[in-house]
Symmetry: none
Subunit: 210 residues, 2 copies
DNA sequence: TTTTGAAAGTGGTCTGACCACTAATCCTTC
DNA sequence: GAAGGATTAGTGGTCAGACCACTTTCAAAA
Protein backbone atom coordinates (compact mmCIF):
# COMPACT_ATOMS: atom_id res chain seq x y z
CA UNK A 1 0.00 0.00 0.00
CA UNK A 2 1.57 3.21 -1.17
CA UNK A 3 1.47 6.07 1.27
CA UNK A 4 -0.34 9.16 0.06
CA UNK A 5 1.94 12.08 -0.55
CA UNK A 6 2.50 14.14 2.50
CA UNK A 7 2.84 17.48 0.84
CA UNK A 8 -0.63 17.18 -0.62
CA UNK A 9 -2.05 16.78 2.87
CA UNK A 10 -0.06 19.80 3.88
CA UNK A 11 -1.81 21.80 1.19
CA UNK A 12 -5.18 20.83 2.64
CA UNK A 13 -4.12 21.33 6.22
CA UNK A 14 -2.82 24.76 5.40
CA UNK A 15 -6.09 25.69 3.78
CA UNK A 16 -7.92 24.66 6.94
CA UNK A 17 -5.49 26.57 9.09
CA UNK A 18 -5.96 29.67 6.98
CA UNK A 19 -9.71 29.41 7.30
CA UNK A 20 -9.71 28.69 11.01
CA UNK A 21 -7.34 31.47 11.92
CA UNK A 22 -9.15 33.76 9.54
CA UNK A 23 -6.04 34.78 7.68
CA UNK A 24 -7.01 37.30 5.03
CA UNK A 25 -5.45 37.95 1.65
CA UNK A 26 -2.34 40.04 2.11
CA UNK A 27 -1.75 38.72 5.61
CA UNK A 28 1.36 36.87 6.57
CA UNK A 29 1.14 33.15 7.24
CA UNK A 30 3.32 31.40 9.81
CA UNK A 31 6.96 30.90 8.87
CA UNK A 32 8.15 27.67 7.32
CA UNK A 33 9.88 26.61 10.50
CA UNK A 34 6.76 27.31 12.54
CA UNK A 35 4.55 25.38 10.15
CA UNK A 36 6.96 22.47 10.15
CA UNK A 37 6.82 22.25 13.91
CA UNK A 38 3.08 22.78 14.17
CA UNK A 39 2.27 20.18 11.54
CA UNK A 40 5.01 17.85 12.72
CA UNK A 41 6.75 17.48 9.38
CA UNK A 42 10.10 18.49 8.00
CA UNK A 43 10.69 21.92 6.67
CA UNK A 44 11.42 20.59 3.20
CA UNK A 45 7.98 19.03 3.06
CA UNK A 46 6.43 22.34 4.02
CA UNK A 47 8.45 24.02 1.31
CA UNK A 48 7.26 21.59 -1.35
CA UNK A 49 3.69 22.43 -0.47
CA UNK A 50 4.41 26.14 -0.44
CA UNK A 51 6.17 26.09 -3.80
CA UNK A 52 3.16 24.41 -5.36
CA UNK A 53 0.84 27.01 -3.95
CA UNK A 54 3.19 29.73 -5.08
CA UNK A 55 3.29 28.54 -8.67
CA UNK A 56 -0.49 28.48 -8.57
CA UNK A 57 -0.44 32.10 -7.47
CA UNK A 58 -2.14 31.44 -4.16
CA UNK A 59 0.71 32.71 -1.99
CA UNK A 60 3.63 35.05 -2.37
CA UNK A 61 6.98 34.66 -0.65
CA UNK A 62 9.34 37.48 0.15
CA UNK A 63 12.86 36.60 1.23
CA UNK A 64 13.63 37.94 4.66
CA UNK A 65 10.02 38.91 5.30
CA UNK A 66 7.84 35.87 5.11
CA UNK A 67 5.07 34.20 3.16
CA UNK A 68 1.84 36.01 2.43
CA UNK A 69 -1.54 35.14 1.05
CA UNK A 70 -1.72 36.71 -2.37
CA UNK A 71 -3.52 39.99 -2.18
CA UNK A 72 -5.87 40.09 -5.11
CA UNK A 73 -7.21 43.51 -4.20
CA UNK A 74 -10.81 43.16 -3.28
CA UNK A 75 -11.58 40.26 -5.54
CA UNK A 76 -11.22 36.72 -4.38
CA UNK A 77 -8.75 35.35 -6.86
CA UNK A 78 -7.55 32.87 -4.32
CA UNK A 79 -10.88 31.17 -3.89
CA UNK A 80 -11.52 31.17 -7.57
CA UNK A 81 -8.25 29.64 -8.56
CA UNK A 82 -8.47 27.15 -5.77
CA UNK A 83 -11.88 25.97 -6.75
CA UNK A 84 -10.82 25.81 -10.36
CA UNK A 85 -7.72 23.81 -9.73
CA UNK A 86 -9.28 21.55 -7.16
CA UNK A 87 -12.17 21.04 -9.52
CA UNK A 88 -14.80 21.59 -6.91
CA UNK A 89 -17.75 23.04 -8.68
CA UNK A 90 -18.11 22.80 -12.38
CA UNK A 91 -21.60 23.44 -13.41
CA UNK A 92 -22.41 21.52 -16.52
CA UNK A 93 -24.34 24.47 -17.81
CA UNK A 94 -21.35 26.78 -17.49
CA UNK A 95 -19.13 24.32 -19.26
CA UNK A 96 -21.51 24.00 -22.16
CA UNK A 97 -21.93 27.72 -22.38
CA UNK A 98 -18.21 28.30 -22.31
CA UNK A 99 -17.70 25.73 -25.04
CA UNK A 100 -20.26 27.60 -27.06
CA UNK A 101 -18.39 30.85 -26.48
CA UNK A 102 -15.26 29.38 -27.99
CA UNK A 103 -17.12 27.76 -30.85
CA UNK A 104 -18.89 30.89 -31.94
CA UNK A 105 -15.68 32.87 -31.58
CA UNK A 106 -14.01 30.36 -33.87
CA UNK A 107 -16.72 30.72 -36.49
CA UNK A 108 -16.44 34.46 -36.31
CA UNK A 109 -12.67 34.26 -36.69
CA UNK A 110 -12.90 32.03 -39.74
CA UNK A 111 -15.35 34.43 -41.36
CA UNK A 112 -12.88 37.26 -40.92
CA UNK A 113 -10.02 35.19 -42.28
CA UNK A 114 -9.53 33.33 -45.50
CA UNK A 115 -9.30 29.96 -43.87
CA UNK A 116 -12.17 28.65 -45.95
CA UNK A 117 -9.99 28.89 -49.02
CA UNK A 118 -7.68 26.24 -47.65
CA UNK A 119 -7.68 22.68 -49.00
CA UNK A 120 -8.77 21.44 -45.57
CA UNK A 121 -11.97 23.30 -46.02
CA UNK A 122 -12.77 21.54 -49.28
CA UNK A 123 -11.93 18.26 -47.65
CA UNK A 124 -14.42 19.00 -44.89
CA UNK A 125 -17.13 19.75 -47.42
CA UNK A 126 -16.49 16.51 -49.21
CA UNK A 127 -16.54 14.49 -46.05
CA UNK A 128 -19.96 15.92 -45.34
CA UNK A 129 -21.18 14.11 -48.46
CA UNK A 130 -19.84 10.78 -47.31
CA UNK A 131 -22.15 8.45 -45.45
CA UNK A 132 -20.21 8.43 -42.21
CA UNK A 133 -19.65 11.76 -40.58
CA UNK A 134 -18.85 12.20 -36.91
CA UNK A 135 -20.34 15.38 -35.50
CA UNK A 136 -17.33 16.16 -33.42
CA UNK A 137 -15.13 16.30 -36.50
CA UNK A 138 -17.09 19.25 -37.75
CA UNK A 139 -16.69 21.34 -34.62
CA UNK A 140 -13.09 20.36 -34.10
CA UNK A 141 -12.17 21.37 -37.63
CA UNK A 142 -13.72 24.75 -37.02
CA UNK A 143 -11.77 25.17 -33.81
CA UNK A 144 -8.55 24.25 -35.59
CA UNK A 145 -9.24 26.57 -38.49
CA UNK A 146 -9.81 29.47 -36.14
CA UNK A 147 -6.05 29.58 -35.71
CA UNK A 148 -6.16 30.18 -31.97
CA UNK A 149 -4.41 27.19 -30.51
CA UNK A 150 -5.06 28.15 -26.94
CA UNK A 151 -8.76 28.44 -27.58
CA UNK A 152 -8.59 25.02 -29.20
CA UNK A 153 -6.95 23.56 -26.15
CA UNK A 154 -9.46 25.05 -23.78
CA UNK A 155 -12.22 23.67 -25.94
CA UNK A 156 -10.70 20.20 -25.76
CA UNK A 157 -10.47 20.51 -22.02
CA UNK A 158 -14.08 21.56 -21.64
CA UNK A 159 -15.24 18.79 -23.91
CA UNK A 160 -13.53 16.29 -21.69
CA UNK A 161 -14.96 17.56 -18.43
CA UNK A 162 -18.37 18.54 -19.63
CA UNK A 163 -19.17 15.48 -21.62
CA UNK A 164 -19.17 15.55 -25.37
CA UNK A 165 -22.46 16.73 -26.85
CA UNK A 166 -21.12 15.98 -30.32
CA UNK A 167 -20.86 12.27 -29.90
CA UNK A 168 -22.01 10.03 -32.69
CA UNK A 169 -22.79 10.40 -36.37
CA UNK A 170 -24.73 13.17 -38.02
CA UNK A 171 -28.07 12.39 -39.62
CA UNK A 172 -29.00 13.46 -43.13
CA UNK A 173 -30.89 16.48 -41.87
CA UNK A 174 -27.98 17.50 -39.74
CA UNK A 175 -25.57 17.22 -42.63
CA UNK A 176 -27.75 19.55 -44.66
CA UNK A 177 -27.71 22.02 -41.78
CA UNK A 178 -23.96 21.78 -41.43
CA UNK A 179 -23.51 22.44 -45.12
CA UNK A 180 -25.54 25.58 -44.74
CA UNK A 181 -23.23 26.69 -42.00
CA UNK A 182 -20.19 26.19 -44.21
CA UNK A 183 -21.91 28.12 -46.95
CA UNK A 184 -22.67 31.02 -44.66
CA UNK A 185 -19.07 31.12 -43.49
CA UNK A 186 -17.83 31.22 -47.08
CA UNK A 187 -20.05 34.19 -47.66
CA UNK A 188 -18.58 35.71 -44.52
CA UNK A 189 -22.02 35.86 -42.99
CA UNK A 190 -21.03 35.21 -39.42
CA UNK A 191 -24.40 35.99 -37.93
CA UNK A 192 -26.21 33.41 -39.99
CA UNK A 193 -23.52 30.82 -39.48
CA UNK A 194 -23.57 31.27 -35.73
CA UNK A 195 -27.36 31.24 -35.59
CA UNK A 196 -27.54 28.00 -37.52
CA UNK A 197 -24.78 26.51 -35.47
CA UNK A 198 -26.54 27.31 -32.21
CA UNK A 199 -29.71 25.75 -33.56
CA UNK A 200 -27.88 22.53 -34.28
CA UNK A 201 -26.01 22.59 -31.00
CA UNK A 202 -29.04 23.23 -28.81
CA UNK A 203 -30.96 20.38 -30.42
CA UNK A 204 -28.10 18.04 -29.62
CA UNK A 205 -27.98 19.09 -26.00
CA UNK A 206 -31.70 18.71 -25.53
CA UNK A 207 -31.64 15.31 -27.16
CA UNK A 208 -28.92 14.34 -24.75
CA UNK A 209 -31.08 14.97 -21.71
CA UNK A 210 -33.99 13.04 -23.14
CA UNK B 1 19.39 43.06 -5.64
CA UNK B 2 17.16 40.10 -4.99
CA UNK B 3 18.13 36.91 -6.70
CA UNK B 4 15.47 35.36 -8.90
CA UNK B 5 14.10 32.11 -7.54
CA UNK B 6 16.09 29.19 -8.61
CA UNK B 7 13.31 26.69 -8.82
CA UNK B 8 11.55 28.81 -11.39
CA UNK B 9 14.60 28.65 -13.62
CA UNK B 10 14.60 24.94 -13.11
CA UNK B 11 11.10 24.79 -14.52
CA UNK B 12 12.28 26.54 -17.67
CA UNK B 13 15.46 24.55 -17.96
CA UNK B 14 13.50 21.36 -17.64
CA UNK B 15 11.25 22.47 -20.45
CA UNK B 16 14.27 22.99 -22.68
CA UNK B 17 15.71 19.67 -21.72
CA UNK B 18 12.45 17.93 -22.47
CA UNK B 19 12.27 19.55 -25.88
CA UNK B 20 15.88 18.93 -26.77
CA UNK B 21 15.84 15.29 -25.79
CA UNK B 22 12.45 14.91 -27.41
CA UNK B 23 10.81 13.39 -24.36
CA UNK B 24 7.23 12.52 -25.19
CA UNK B 25 4.18 12.42 -22.93
CA UNK B 26 4.24 9.22 -20.94
CA UNK B 27 8.01 8.97 -21.12
CA UNK B 28 10.20 8.95 -18.07
CA UNK B 29 12.29 11.99 -17.31
CA UNK B 30 15.72 11.81 -15.65
CA UNK B 31 15.74 11.02 -11.94
CA UNK B 32 15.90 13.76 -9.35
CA UNK B 33 19.48 12.97 -8.52
CA UNK B 34 20.45 13.02 -12.17
CA UNK B 35 18.72 16.34 -12.76
CA UNK B 36 20.35 17.81 -9.69
CA UNK B 37 23.77 16.89 -10.96
CA UNK B 38 23.13 17.89 -14.54
CA UNK B 39 21.71 21.28 -13.61
CA UNK B 40 24.22 21.77 -10.81
CA UNK B 41 21.67 22.42 -8.06
CA UNK B 42 20.63 20.62 -4.92
CA UNK B 43 18.13 17.83 -5.06
CA UNK B 44 15.70 19.73 -2.87
CA UNK B 45 15.59 22.55 -5.40
CA UNK B 46 14.82 20.06 -8.13
CA UNK B 47 12.08 18.62 -5.97
CA UNK B 48 10.47 22.00 -5.39
CA UNK B 49 10.25 22.51 -9.12
CA UNK B 50 8.90 19.01 -9.66
CA UNK B 51 6.26 19.33 -6.95
CA UNK B 52 4.97 22.50 -8.55
CA UNK B 53 4.71 20.81 -11.91
CA UNK B 54 3.06 17.83 -10.28
CA UNK B 55 0.33 19.85 -8.60
CA UNK B 56 -0.33 21.42 -11.97
CA UNK B 57 -0.65 17.97 -13.44
CA UNK B 58 2.25 18.33 -15.85
CA UNK B 59 4.18 15.41 -14.48
CA UNK B 60 3.39 12.29 -12.52
CA UNK B 61 5.68 10.69 -9.98
CA UNK B 62 5.68 7.05 -9.01
CA UNK B 63 7.66 6.02 -5.99
CA UNK B 64 10.33 3.54 -6.85
CA UNK B 65 9.82 3.98 -10.57
CA UNK B 66 10.49 7.55 -11.51
CA UNK B 67 8.93 10.74 -12.81
CA UNK B 68 6.94 10.78 -16.02
CA UNK B 69 5.48 13.36 -18.32
CA UNK B 70 1.74 13.15 -17.92
CA UNK B 71 -0.02 11.70 -20.89
CA UNK B 72 -2.20 14.54 -22.08
CA UNK B 73 -4.45 12.11 -23.86
CA UNK B 74 -6.55 11.86 -20.77
CA UNK B 75 -5.89 15.18 -19.15
CA UNK B 76 -6.03 18.04 -21.57
CA UNK B 77 -5.66 20.29 -18.59
CA UNK B 78 -2.01 19.47 -18.80
CA UNK B 79 -1.43 21.01 -22.18
CA UNK B 80 -3.49 23.99 -21.23
CA UNK B 81 -1.58 24.73 -18.11
CA UNK B 82 1.70 23.94 -19.80
CA UNK B 83 0.98 26.67 -22.26
CA UNK B 84 0.50 29.10 -19.45
CA UNK B 85 3.30 28.10 -17.21
CA UNK B 86 5.98 27.64 -19.75
CA UNK B 87 5.24 31.11 -21.06
CA UNK B 88 5.87 30.46 -24.66
CA UNK B 89 6.00 33.92 -26.15
CA UNK B 90 4.33 32.71 -29.30
CA UNK B 91 1.17 32.14 -27.35
CA UNK B 92 0.96 35.54 -25.73
CA UNK B 93 -1.07 36.67 -28.67
CA UNK B 94 -3.38 33.70 -28.27
CA UNK B 95 -3.83 34.43 -24.60
CA UNK B 96 -4.81 37.99 -25.30
CA UNK B 97 -7.16 36.94 -28.02
CA UNK B 98 -8.77 34.33 -25.84
CA UNK B 99 -9.24 36.84 -23.06
CA UNK B 100 -10.98 39.03 -25.58
CA UNK B 101 -13.22 36.15 -26.60
CA UNK B 102 -14.41 35.76 -23.04
CA UNK B 103 -14.79 39.48 -22.55
CA UNK B 104 -16.93 40.03 -25.60
CA UNK B 105 -18.98 36.97 -24.75
CA UNK B 106 -19.59 38.46 -21.32
CA UNK B 107 -20.76 41.75 -22.79
CA UNK B 108 -23.08 39.90 -25.12
CA UNK B 109 -24.46 37.88 -22.22
CA UNK B 110 -25.14 40.94 -20.12
CA UNK B 111 -26.97 42.56 -23.01
CA UNK B 112 -29.26 39.57 -23.25
CA UNK B 113 -29.85 39.52 -19.52
CA UNK B 114 -31.14 42.07 -17.10
CA UNK B 115 -27.94 42.25 -15.14
CA UNK B 116 -27.64 45.96 -15.79
CA UNK B 117 -30.68 46.54 -13.62
CA UNK B 118 -28.81 45.28 -10.58
CA UNK B 119 -27.53 47.65 -7.89
CA UNK B 120 -23.98 46.58 -8.70
CA UNK B 121 -24.42 48.11 -12.07
CA UNK B 122 -25.33 51.49 -10.66
CA UNK B 123 -22.41 51.26 -8.31
CA UNK B 124 -20.11 50.66 -11.26
CA UNK B 125 -21.47 53.72 -13.04
CA UNK B 126 -20.91 55.85 -9.99
CA UNK B 127 -17.40 54.64 -9.49
CA UNK B 128 -16.66 55.71 -13.05
CA UNK B 129 -17.33 59.28 -11.91
CA UNK B 130 -14.85 59.04 -9.05
CA UNK B 131 -11.33 60.26 -9.65
CA UNK B 132 -9.66 56.91 -9.11
CA UNK B 133 -10.78 54.11 -11.30
CA UNK B 134 -8.74 51.00 -11.97
CA UNK B 135 -9.25 49.69 -15.47
CA UNK B 136 -9.26 46.10 -14.38
CA UNK B 137 -12.27 46.72 -12.13
CA UNK B 138 -14.36 47.52 -15.15
CA UNK B 139 -13.59 44.35 -17.04
CA UNK B 140 -13.79 42.19 -13.98
CA UNK B 141 -17.22 43.48 -13.09
CA UNK B 142 -18.40 42.67 -16.58
CA UNK B 143 -17.03 39.16 -16.30
CA UNK B 144 -18.79 38.69 -12.97
CA UNK B 145 -22.05 40.09 -14.25
CA UNK B 146 -22.02 37.71 -17.18
CA UNK B 147 -23.04 35.04 -14.71
CA UNK B 148 -20.78 32.39 -16.17
CA UNK B 149 -18.48 31.52 -13.32
CA UNK B 150 -16.34 29.14 -15.34
CA UNK B 151 -15.71 31.77 -17.96
CA UNK B 152 -14.77 34.14 -15.16
CA UNK B 153 -12.30 31.68 -13.76
CA UNK B 154 -10.68 31.07 -17.10
CA UNK B 155 -10.41 34.80 -17.60
CA UNK B 156 -8.66 35.15 -14.27
CA UNK B 157 -6.20 32.47 -15.19
CA UNK B 158 -5.45 34.04 -18.53
CA UNK B 159 -4.97 37.42 -16.95
CA UNK B 160 -2.55 36.03 -14.44
CA UNK B 161 -0.40 34.14 -16.87
CA UNK B 162 -0.69 36.35 -19.91
CA UNK B 163 0.08 39.60 -18.23
CA UNK B 164 -2.59 42.09 -17.32
CA UNK B 165 -3.27 44.64 -20.03
CA UNK B 166 -5.69 46.45 -17.71
CA UNK B 167 -3.17 47.55 -15.18
CA UNK B 168 -3.35 51.08 -13.82
CA UNK B 169 -5.94 53.82 -13.71
CA UNK B 170 -8.19 54.98 -16.46
CA UNK B 171 -7.72 58.44 -17.92
CA UNK B 172 -10.58 60.91 -18.40
CA UNK B 173 -10.94 60.00 -22.05
CA UNK B 174 -11.04 56.33 -21.18
CA UNK B 175 -13.70 56.87 -18.56
CA UNK B 176 -15.87 58.61 -21.13
CA UNK B 177 -15.40 55.66 -23.46
CA UNK B 178 -16.25 53.18 -20.73
CA UNK B 179 -19.42 55.10 -19.91
CA UNK B 180 -20.45 54.81 -23.52
CA UNK B 181 -19.96 51.09 -23.32
CA UNK B 182 -22.21 50.86 -20.28
CA UNK B 183 -24.80 52.94 -22.07
CA UNK B 184 -24.74 50.71 -25.11
CA UNK B 185 -25.17 47.65 -22.93
CA UNK B 186 -28.17 49.19 -21.21
CA UNK B 187 -29.72 49.74 -24.58
CA UNK B 188 -28.94 46.12 -25.34
CA UNK B 189 -26.83 47.21 -28.26
CA UNK B 190 -24.24 44.48 -28.03
CA UNK B 191 -22.55 45.29 -31.31
CA UNK B 192 -21.79 48.86 -30.37
CA UNK B 193 -20.68 47.90 -26.88
CA UNK B 194 -18.30 45.28 -28.18
CA UNK B 195 -16.92 47.54 -30.87
CA UNK B 196 -16.20 50.29 -28.36
CA UNK B 197 -14.72 47.81 -25.96
CA UNK B 198 -12.37 46.44 -28.57
CA UNK B 199 -11.27 49.94 -29.43
CA UNK B 200 -10.34 50.59 -25.81
CA UNK B 201 -8.69 47.24 -25.37
CA UNK B 202 -6.53 47.40 -28.48
CA UNK B 203 -5.25 50.83 -27.54
CA UNK B 204 -4.18 49.48 -24.17
CA UNK B 205 -2.31 46.56 -25.67
CA UNK B 206 -0.53 48.73 -28.20
CA UNK B 207 0.46 51.17 -25.48
CA UNK B 208 1.83 48.27 -23.52
CA UNK B 209 4.32 47.38 -26.21
CA UNK B 210 5.49 50.95 -26.64
C1' DT C 1 12.73 -24.18 -15.78
C1' DT C 2 10.80 -21.76 -12.01
C1' DT C 3 11.25 -19.39 -7.77
C1' DT C 4 13.35 -16.45 -4.67
C1' DG C 5 15.73 -12.85 -2.77
C1' DA C 6 19.40 -9.63 -2.86
C1' DA C 7 20.87 -5.39 -5.03
C1' DA C 8 20.36 -1.20 -7.39
C1' DG C 9 17.75 2.64 -8.42
C1' DT C 10 13.89 5.73 -7.50
C1' DG C 11 10.92 9.00 -5.07
C1' DG C 12 9.62 10.65 0.01
C1' DT C 13 11.17 12.68 4.10
C1' DC C 14 14.01 14.56 7.77
C1' DT C 15 17.91 17.03 9.73
C1' DG C 16 21.17 20.48 10.18
C1' DA C 17 23.79 23.69 8.25
C1' DC C 18 24.85 27.80 5.62
C1' DC C 19 23.63 32.04 2.74
C1' DA C 20 20.92 36.34 1.44
C1' DC C 21 17.81 39.39 2.79
C1' DT C 22 14.61 42.30 5.87
C1' DA C 23 13.23 44.70 9.76
C1' DA C 24 13.45 45.81 14.34
C1' DT C 25 16.66 47.11 17.95
C1' DC C 26 20.34 49.17 20.23
C1' DC C 27 24.00 52.35 20.48
C1' DT C 28 26.77 56.02 19.15
C1' DT C 29 27.03 60.66 17.79
C1' DC C 30 25.49 65.18 17.18
C1' DG D 1 16.47 64.39 22.76
C1' DA D 2 17.02 63.33 17.82
C1' DA D 3 19.32 61.33 13.92
C1' DG D 4 21.92 58.04 11.93
C1' DG D 5 24.46 53.78 11.68
C1' DA D 6 25.76 49.11 13.21
C1' DT D 7 24.01 44.91 15.30
C1' DT D 8 20.98 41.16 15.61
C1' DA D 9 17.06 38.15 15.29
C1' DG D 10 14.04 36.13 12.09
C1' DT D 11 12.81 34.80 7.41
C1' DG D 12 13.04 32.44 2.94
C1' DG D 13 16.63 29.97 -0.42
C1' DT D 14 19.75 26.34 -0.99
C1' DC D 15 22.61 22.49 -0.16
C1' DA D 16 24.45 17.92 1.45
C1' DG D 17 23.76 13.72 3.51
C1' DA D 18 21.19 10.40 5.57
C1' DC D 19 17.37 7.18 6.06
C1' DC D 20 12.89 4.97 4.52
C1' DA D 21 9.47 2.79 1.24
C1' DC D 22 8.93 1.06 -2.99
C1' DT D 23 9.81 -1.07 -7.76
C1' DT D 24 12.46 -3.40 -11.05
C1' DT D 25 16.02 -6.36 -12.32
C1' DC D 26 18.69 -10.24 -12.44
C1' DA D 27 21.45 -13.77 -10.75
C1' DA D 28 21.50 -17.63 -7.63
C1' DA D 29 19.04 -21.42 -5.68
C1' DA D 30 15.53 -24.91 -5.88
Amino acid sequence: MTQPKRYLNIVSEMRDMIREQNIRPGDRIPSERELAEKLAVGRSTIREALRSLELLGLIETRRGEGTFLTDPGKHRLVELLATFILQDTKTLEDIRETMCIHETAAIQAICSSEAWKLPVWQSLRERLDGHEFIREDFVRELMVLSGNRLSLKIWFLLKQYGGNPYDGEASLEEKALLKNILLAIEQQDGQTAIREFKTWSSVLIKGENA
